[in-house]
Amino acid sequence: MSASAKAFAVAGTEAIAAKGWLGAHKYLILRRISQAGFLGVFLLGPWFGLWIVKGNLTSSLTLDVLPLTDPLVLLQTFAAGHVPALTAILGAIIVAAIYAALGGRLYCSWVCPINPVTDLAHWLHMRLGLKKGWQPKRSTRYWVLAMVFVGSLATGTLAWELVNPVSMAHRAIIFGAGFAWMVVLAVFFFDLFVSRRGWCGHLCPVGAFYGLLNEKSVLRVSAANRSACDNCMDCFAVCPEAHVITPALRGTAGETPIITHRDCTACGRCIDVCSQDVFRFTHRFADRPARTDGPVEPLNAPTGAA
């Protein structure tokens, strides 16, 4: 077993000892419930005739009034040369506004049906003690995103939707799979054997797009209690975008403890596995400079980090 595998194998054990198993898996369980819920609400119709939501993640109609459309898919139709009808545009604006306000990459960790697949791949990857493998730069996903638009423009089709594992997996479960499971399996094998955290963390253009919406959103994880950090490294071991932690956790007195990086998916796993309760969910304005008449906390000193 390699060192990194050992590090993973023990990641969270101290937290379990300190907070109990449930306490050390709180957000993981909530996330799985959320993911199952977003899938389940679409399945209530076809399975039980309870039509709360119709359609799938690319576009849906809730309670026959609320249209929701994936903004990335809609932008592809624009790129393909089609000006969509108002319903879809309205739906995309609603979705984009909600994610931009709340947290762009909440989509990745709380909604996306591929997330449990790549999480499983990562779990197995670590259990097998496999090497990191191919690690393309994390910025590669933006190039892939650009490719999606150029491809749509050049072919006049929604290029990404021909292969998108995210929408394909969701649609497959709700409308019938055909061989779409092969695409999902390909992502699984890619993450398991080829590239640790490769798909969600480096390549997926859907995550890249929602990351762009994450720039100014409110919900944030903060290493608020970072002075209590005992350097166990468990948070780094479980974080799918480990580079986002460093500036917040290792920042000096003047720097914000809030994870402001757009790559953070707000999965809350770092909160779970920390036995010292360093992390917690907060909002981005928790970092506002304290008023001069109040007591000034060093951690909340004004910064330009946001």
Partner: protein, 261 residues
Amino acid sequence: MANARESQGLTRRRVLQDAARAAGGCAAAGLLLGLYAVEARELPAEALRPPGALPERDFLGACVRCGLCVRDCPYDTLSLAELGRDGAATGTPFFTARDVPCEMCDDIPCVAACPTGALDPGLQNIDDAQMGVAVLVDQEHCLNYLGLRCDVCYRVCPLVDEAITLERSHNTRTDSHAIFAPTVHADACTGCGKCEKSCVLPEAAIKVLPARLARAEAAEHYRLGWEEKEKAGAPLIGDLIDLPDRGFEPALKLPGAGGVQ
């Protein structure tokens, strides 16, 4: 100072190299994706799009594959193409006439459900739908052509006597009966597929095909004399001029005809 400049140059080179690598990788992947996209544009002849669907090329740039049309179809006619199983581009809606034809609802719920306009909301009357054109593809097996009175395709047609008529002709085999040939009139046919669905043969003699396969196209310069005559309200060349017949006079001299050299 020189060192700093040198390392800056190295950093710049590194950045450019990384960018080139990412761009090159994505270009390679993108070309494959583009190839696949072009391949996926081909819609199999038996896969029919829902009413109001834009022309196939535009449709593939407009449909987001949400399946709302599928959900609002009261007859479960439509389904989303499954990857590797159905020929249509993955996730796009289609129907197969022989399985479940389109029932041509007056309120066209599938079009109303479409959020993007891939199914054109301009389609207000279902009789104007152009999902395909029925073609009697096999006269040798069609029972009506064999001289029987099957008539099923004619009777189930929602636009009976407009989209399909029975054209009577003499049955030369028996010499004492008639043949009632089911005849499709493409301008009226919506391509709903009810005829194909109900054809009594094990394999339908009448099939709905996409218009590109079902229809010929007259050359642009062709004019039908009788139509032009009707448009003009009179024969286009006016009264015929009756010229005197000539050519029999012995005086006519043609080269090489035995005249004076």
